[in-house]
């Protein structure tokens, strides 16, 4: 299946060479961490600790009763010094717990291995994963245990591990595949067992031949797990594109992967799942690619959740003066930030600093009806029409044009010769459509 891919897409400049050959190094635990109580899609957590409490590394400090939610854990041992709203990468303030480290990194006494995979039932596995606070670590931060608990009428036969890492600049998943292939495969086995699925697929873009080689070695002898090489094209790692490329199944409009018997998980999530089971370790740290022409010393760092981005940048030699934009995530789907005073959260796959040369600030001009966005859209939408509808606040028209199916990959904005912020307009339309649907339900 060498040619397995999807329609549309774009070929941005990948620039992964900045960090692709740099091994993951652990960043020393910071003196202070800020842990937001919402780092996932779903219900926010409530704090389980109070100001002045002593916490240990890995101790659960926030939890929600909602099913679609994930608890948060202390990523250092020390004292809780503040609980209150703090800047969040999503651009608003979110309740967060600030912990001052005692420098000891004493693990909480409950952190211990959960035994072998054979000895655990699917239900026990899901409970462990939920307790470990695992979420989709590619950036979407959907609680991992929810994806492993589909309704009984939707049986899952295939689990796909997303190793495409199609976002330019980012190399966190790439390095994980090279350095922890066996943990990754074990994570996939955990998912297969929890779901009762039979087939495991690891999809990797063919611009990472070393990762393909290492992963193929790692799955040798596993009859039901295969590694698929995918052509290099953005957004190859988007859920629906990946499913179509590897299984030729099409997720229906408005549907979820589980509708076609598939569950997707990111490389980082699989590795974290392995560690949650083997060591009982909750999600307290993650690999972050700190990169871009604006960073003095780009790196792949293992960073504690809650470390301030400003601290991470300091560990990488700081920002160059020519830095114009700071982005959390990749350049295509990441979010531009207004300050570095934000914590690294579970979904922070990259910290990207772009310089004046990388940032295009040209004014958008009129649509010339070239239809390049139509050709590039991987989900077969007509971005320019939706953007026009959004501009004139024609929400119903945008809805008829299936704006809600947009995966916000950014291909249309990228390809537009008139530099129209198409994705941004469509995101607005989507928000308005959801708001309208919510009002209609009332």
């Amino acid at each position: 299946m060498g040619g397995a891919t999807f329609k549309g897409g774009v070929h941005p400049d990948y620039r992964k060479e900045l960090t692709a050959s740099l091994a993951i190094t652990a960043m020393p635990a910071p003196a202070k961490v800020v842990i937001p109580l919402q780092q996932h899609i779903g219900a926010p957590c409530e704090a389980l600790v109070q100001v002045g409490d002593t916490v240990k590394l890995g101790q659960k400090i926030g939890e929600s009763k909602g099913f679609v939610s994930a608890p948060v854990h202390a990523s250092v041992s020390g004292t809780v010094v503040a609980i209150g709203p703090y800047n969040h990468p999503l651009g608003r303030k979110v309740e967060a717990i600030t912990i001052e480290s005692d420098g000891q990194d004493t693990w909480h006494e409950d952190i211990k291995p959960h035994g072998s995979l054979e000895s655990l039932s699917p239900e026990e596995i899901k409970a462990i994963i939920r307790e470990a606070g695992l979420v989709g670590m590619g950036g979407a931060t959907f609680p991992a245990h929810v994806k492993l608990a589909p309704p009984p009428e939707k049986p899952i036969d295939t689990v796909i591990i997303n190793g495409a890492e199609c976002e330019p600049y980012l190399t966190a998943d790439h390095r994980l595949m090279l350095e922890k292939p066996n943990e990754l495969v074990f994570g996939l086995k955990i998912m297969l067992k929890a779901l009762g699925a039979s087939v495991g697929i690891i999809g990797i873009e063919n611009n990472k031949p070393d990762a393909l080689r290492v992963m193929r070695q790692a799955v040798e002898g596993e009859a039901n797990i295969s590694v698929v090489a995918l052509p290099t094209k953005y957004p190859q790692g988007a859920e629906k594109m990946l499913i179509y490329a590897t299984t030729r199944r099409k997720v229906p409009s408005g549907g979820l992967p589980m509708d076609v018997g598939v569950v997707n998980h990111n490389v980082g999530t699989a590795v974290a799942m392995c560690e949650a089971l083997h060591k009982g370790k909750p999600l307290v740290e993650r690999v972050v690619t700190v990169t871009g022409e604006g960073v003095a010393r780009p790196a792949n760092l293992m960073v504690r959740i809650g470390t301030l981005v400003s601290e991470v940048l300091k560990a990488c030699g700081g920002l160059k003066e020519t830095t114009r934009k700071l982005i959390i995530g990749g350049p295509m789907m990441g979010l531009a930030q207004t300050s570095a005073d934000i914590p690294v959260i579970k979904g922070t796959s990259g910290i990207l600093a772009l310089t004046e040369e990388n940032v295009d600030l040209s004014e958008p001009s009129t649509c010339i009806k070239c239809a390049k966005c139509v050709g590039a859209c991987p989900v077969n939408l007509v971005p320019t029409f939706i953007a026009q509808a959004a501009e004139h606040e024609l929400i119903q028209r945008a809805e008829k044009l299936h704006a809600a199916d947009c995966i916000e990959c950014g291909c249309c904005s990228f390809i537009c010769p008139s530099r129209i912020p198409l994705t941004q307009w469509i995101r607005l339309a989507k928000a308005d459509i959801l708001e309208r649907r919510r009002q209609q339900q009332k």
């Binding site: 651009g91 608003r92 207004t338 300050s339 600030l361 912020p421 941004q424 307009w425 607005l428 928000a431």
Partner: protein, 279 residues
Amino acid sequence: MQVLYAVAALGGIGILFGVLLALVARFFAVQSDPRVEAVREVLPGANCGACGYAGCTNFAEAVVGGEAKIDGCIPGGSETAKEIAALLGQEAIETVPLVATVFCIGDNRMAKDLFVYDGIQDCAVAMKYANGFKACTYGCLGLGNCVRACPFEAITIGPGGLPVVDKEKCNGCGLCAKACPRNIIQILPKGTAGHLVLCASHDRGKSVTLACEVGCMACKACVKACPQEAITMQDNLAVIDLEKCDDCGECVAACKPGTIHPRRNLPVAAPRPQDQVAV
């Protein structure tokens, strides 16, 4: 001879269609009130929608039908109301001319920006990210939703990045006030009497001073200074009652940040030094 055939054939068709059109015009005529057309003629014709109807024709129909008031056309003002009254044989009503006023003077020199915003150039859109790029969450973002809403081209964005209302062109239709997502624009009776507190911030004193040099910090100095007791504090913002204000100017002297200005001389925001063109 053949020429005559052609003339007769074409002439016959002409007469036939003429008769048909005459019959159609007689039996399928649309009964329209000539007064609607007459009223529409005296309206400004901008189709601005400030009356609450889709356009001038709809308003004309509503007025003739008795649904709308004869002074319903805000841009037309007293003049139009009088003409409509004359056409409909009603008594004329004196209307108060209105004007849009921008309640923010925190230009790009006085009000701090938190970050550089280069997204979609629309105030409402800019507000969806971190509640706007200004440190003040009440102040004017200057991306021109009011400018685009004005059917009379009475608003422009001035050199300081704030909207400037042309009092001659503005007739107080209120579309800019509706378009402003920060609700900074108020429609006031036209005139130069009275003073205004040109700030919309309901924040407390300290956060106002951190965000803007000319914001109302709710110090109440103007309230104490006003001999007419025309100024009240409403949710951390001084508000002057124009009915009571006698233009003595005591409040201007008392206001430390310089937020209060007389209406006869509303400030036009000044450009930053670096934005000024060298002469």
